[in-house]
């Protein structure tokens, strides 16, 4: 798809339920690339909920066209700035009205084509907004702490003096491995406590990949990284129960993030809205199979399922 570098393109942040104060919330808000933020309305009064809007910004085609994006996305600094700006707009919208965040870097040729998209899927959006109204997302991560250096053959501890260096080494290694296995078991216990909290309070759950790599930092090994959809009224109860899931468990740390706008639940996870047939069993696989692409026909084609 070609774009003229001089014409702006339309960056879309979120689909939202129209709200009388939403326009005011967006006034003065600064989006990606310092762009102003406004709404694109689908057209009021239509059957299926004419009160759904898209929140967008005009951005430079040179930066956000296909070529520009490919180039910029290689740059972590750029990605971070866009991600934080995108998030700030989503937060501002979600603070006011139910919102479905869009995937980062969803860009349309212009407001008109964005409106066309909105129109084609308005019923799905409307249903999902109803479902998500008054629910928030919490993230729960469980870490196995890095093994303490105490497992080294320390002079003060144990009868190290009775052991040859080789045996002392093996013994230390064994202890280290045992500690680690115990920590994994403890992490499992913590995960089960989180699941208990979810049964009591949450309405849905999405599994993210454990975090690894430079960005994940050295906070220990992340072994569990899930998101939970929780009604606002249960929010604090869920948060405190989840945050306490590591209590009394050695070598395990539990981190709770949120409340988030329902990023991980913007699309129903498995039901496929009838566009992907009967194959419910692949729900646990990753995003790779969300690209099916063969669906044709109805508006379901416009919104593809996103497995976590």
């Amino acid at each position: 798809m070609t774009t003229s570098p001089s014409e702006p393109v339309t960056y879309a942040y979120a689909v939202a339920r129209a709200h009388p104060d939403l326009a005011r919330s967006l006034t003065g808000l600064v989006g990606v690339a310092d762009a102003p933020v406004h709404m694109v309305a689908e057209g009021a009064g239509e059957e299926g909920g004419g009160d759904v809007v898209l929140v967008v910004s005009p951005v430079s085609a040179a930066d956000f066209g296909e070529e520009g994006l490919r180039r910029h996305l290689e740059d972590l600094g750029w990605l971070e700035a866009v991600a934080r700006a995108h998030h700030a707009v989503v937060e501002a919208v979600a603070a006011r009205t139910p919102a479905l965040p869009l995937r980062l870097a969803t860009v349309y040729l212009d407001d008109g084509s964005a409106r066309g998209m909105l129109r084609s899927a308005v019923r799905l959006f409307s249903e999902r907004l109803d479902h998500l109204a008054d629910q928030v997302e919490w993230g729960v991560k469980i870490y196995v702490e890095a093994t303490a250096p105490a497992a080294e053959a320390t002079p003060g501890s144990a009868p190290a003096g009775d052991l040859t260096p080789g045996r002392a080494y093996l013994s230390a290694r064994r202890r280290q491995r045992n500690d680690r296995e115990a920590a994994y078991r403890a992490a499992q216990e913590a995960a089960e406590r989180v699941a208990d909290a979810a049964r009591a309070h949450a309405t849905d759950r999405a599994t993210h990949r454990p975090q690894q790599g430079v960005l994940a930092g050295d906070a220990g090994e992340n072994v569990f990284n899930d998101a939970f959809l929780v009604p606002r009224g249960r929010s604090e109860a869920f948060r405190s129960e989840a945050a306490g899931a590591g209590h009394g468990l050695a070598g395990v740390r539990v981190e709770v993030t949120g409340p988030w706008a329902p990023y991980s639940f913007a699309v129903p996870q498995d039901d496929g809205r009838g566009t992907r047939g009967t194959d419910d069993t692949r729900s646990t696989t990753d995003t790779a199979d969300a690209d099916g692409g063969d669906d044709s026909g109805d508006s379901g084609d416009t919104v593809r399922g996103v497995a976590p």
């Binding site: 040729l109 759950r205 990949r209 416009t302």
Partner: protein, 80 residues
């Protein structure tokens, strides 16, 4: 080429404390993915996973999580 500036209002927003990695979990794996007249959605090109692989390592069959969560299936409390 101008990079995007930081949002001027960001200093006042609570998102300062949000870890980028948590944000990217949601923005790159969550959110509605749209097709149609879209110029480009990064979901279409798997680009970020490629270019940032060193930063955001994904767990896959060759690089499995050492921890298999075997708790209740997540459908257990899905939409009733």
């Amino acid at each position: 080429m101008n990079g995007p500036g930081r949002p001027a209002a960001a200093e006042a927003l609570p998102d300062r404390q949000i870890a980028l990695v948590d944000l990217l979990d949601r923005l790159l794996a969550g959110g509605v993915v749209l097709a149609g007249d879209v110029v480009l959605s990064i979901a279409d090109i798997d680009l970020v996973r490629v270019s940032l692989r060193a930063l955001i390592v994904s767990v896959d069959p060759e690089n499995p999580s050492p921890f298999e969560y075997s708790g209740p299936p997540r459908d257990g409390h899905d939409r009733r």
